[in-house]
Subunit: 343 residues, 2 copies
């Protein structure tokens, strides 16, 4: 008769000598019941195997403990890494995160938002696709669900934005390259989906003007999320054409740089800061792979931890404020220049 199967909270309350609502309160917040009551429940919990039915729990709750995390592409280690950190932070805070990735597809992004809506989440952390996103749909979503946007800035959408200060990124890399050699050209995709790319280009133009150098922007073809492949092809074209205006390259992001380095290697063009090298290369993001490229990549690093923590903190604040801020909040984090061997 010991360890009988507990079917529901009623039964569990009975074996722990309490009423069901008290047990219910415990599961929603253990500190909301008296210590002696808590003890009874926890003893029963050791003896009997029981966990509340999550569906029954959430069906009538005005606010679930669910949190949605949406990123544009989980197979991109940059997003995988940031999603992982955010996920951990949410769990620490007592929430139940669920991860979603639109894998670069705007239609899937909308589907995720629809699914999310039906999950009645306490809040959502959303890194949108960017240019490809259906702005009006996202706007509608943000009106109904407390949402903190991160990484990709969408003008005026969402209750808050947490991201990186693209100017700080580009400023540091351009200054470094210029200080230690020739000023760089800017290597990017022609029509980048991510809005950070546009800000980085603009920052490059600004910084170059401030430093009194002529800017050169190289725009390469390619659509989608295969950035390495796009970068490699673009670099192949660029490198075989010759007549480079400078020997220093600043890539818009690390994944393009990875492709660039692959192309340079295949063409036998040495990249690095030693005298035998013909090109120097720097980039932005501090992609997890950037320390294993050949040569290792000098890059402006995101403050992963700060962005993640700030995003989650901001969302928690938003939730506690009842889902609305009086004014839209924006938080930007500076880059940390990581010097490696590519420049």
């Amino acid at each position: 008769m010991v360890n009988q199967r507990i079917k529901n909270m009623e039964e569990f309350a009975s074996v722990s000598g309490l009423s069901r609502p008290t047990v219910s309160k415990y599961f929603n917040d253990p500190s909301s019941v008296r210590a002696s009551t808590r003890l009874k429940i926890e003893q029963a919990l050791e003896e009997f195997e029981y966990q509340p039915n999550i569906y029954a729990m959430n069906q009538n709750r005005k606010l679930t403990k669910n949190v949605g995390i949406v990123v544009p592409h989980l197979a991109d280690p940059f997003f995988a890494e940031i999603a992982r950190t955010i996920e951990a932070r949410c769990i620490e805070a007592g929430y139940r995160p669920t991860m979603f990735s639109s894998y670069g597809d705007p239609a899937q992004e909308i589907e995720i938002l629809s699914l999310l809506r039906s999950m009645k989440p306490a809040g959502v952390l959303l890194a949108p696709l960017g240019r490809l996103s259906d702005r009006s749909e996202i706007e509608k979503f943000c009106r109904d669900v407390p949402t903190v946007l991160f990484d990709s800035y969408l003008e005026g959408i969402g209750d808050a934005f947490v991201g990186s200060d693209n100017y700080s990124f580009v400023n540091q890399t351009v200054e470094y390259l210029t200080r230690t050699g020739e000023p760089p050209l800017f290597f990017e995709m022609k029509t980048p989906a991510n809005p950070n790319a546009n800000k980085r280009r603009q920052a490059y133009l600004d910084v170059m003007e401030r430093l009194g150098h002529e800017p050169h922007v190289v725009k390469i073809d390619g659509e989608g999320w295969a950035f390495e492949e796009i970068g490699k092809r673009g670099a192949m074209a660029f490198l075989t054409k010759g007549d480079w205006p400078t020997n220093a390259i600043l890539c818009s992001n690390d994944r393009l740089a990875i492709g660039f380095l692959a192309a340079a290697y295949e063409l036998g063009i040495r990249v690095g800061r030693t005298p035998d090298c013909t090109l120097r290369l720097a980039s932005n993001d501090d992609h997890p792979f950037s320390r294993f490229t050949c040569p290792s990549l000098t890059t402006a690093a995101h403050d992963y931890d700060s962005v993640s923590s700030a995003s989650v903190d901001c969302l928690l604040q938003l939730i506690e404020s009842g889902g609305k801020f009086s004014t839209r909040q924006e938080q930007l984090f500076e880059a940390r220049l990581v010097l490696r061997n590519s420049s």
Copy 2:
């Protein structure tokens, strides 16, 4: 009065001129209602915004349409890629997948299984951590929830296993390396978490014996999932020590190989198949980055699509069979040798 807020299925049934049970049938299987009825509902669906409460839906259903996908480390692009494919297949089949990653932590793996249990999923696709997994907990889980294991083989656990034929992987790379030059040594971690690693080592030893060559296994230190870093350090030690028994290296997996190549580059040791190279390198997995390493990596490729499809198909069969197979099913897929520049 138009587009009034629909609160529940009763209301929605009323505005579509039907009874609630009929509408319920539609949402559980649109083809179970007459075409004319379907039309009525779909017209109402366009006019009014409504989707069933997923929590209320699942609370009494014996079997939800949920499917859990668990991988050991989502920040590893290999798993991100396979999870993505599996996710898509599940959605195609009309299921609602949820992704989980234990990020290399056995405790988190168990927590995921516990959470999954409470989600009453129709089935679970589980790639366990391997050596670090709590076998008995996983075994208990598999007794209660229809589970297909993939990628990592755990002896006798789960209703089915779908993975890659490690022998086929190693056999092809060893044969290729031997045919085109010296037979390789095997480069691996001392205590790999993933059981595939052990099978690959054994396969290496078998193939070398069959071909009549003396095997050499190089075991490097390191724990955790930072394989590139571990590979780089191990390669640094190996390469600086000199007196290599052969000029051909077979890495247990691509991530180690990526680290190896980074080390070789830093030491100025050229890797490749051209005469000016001192080492040749091959590996296993066809990691998404392996085509962008310097040099690009010759590797035995997983049949991502087949493994993903077979895993999902197998799970669907399992679900339709009521959650149990008469005998444990195992399915292995062969590798496809991808020749690139590293050997």
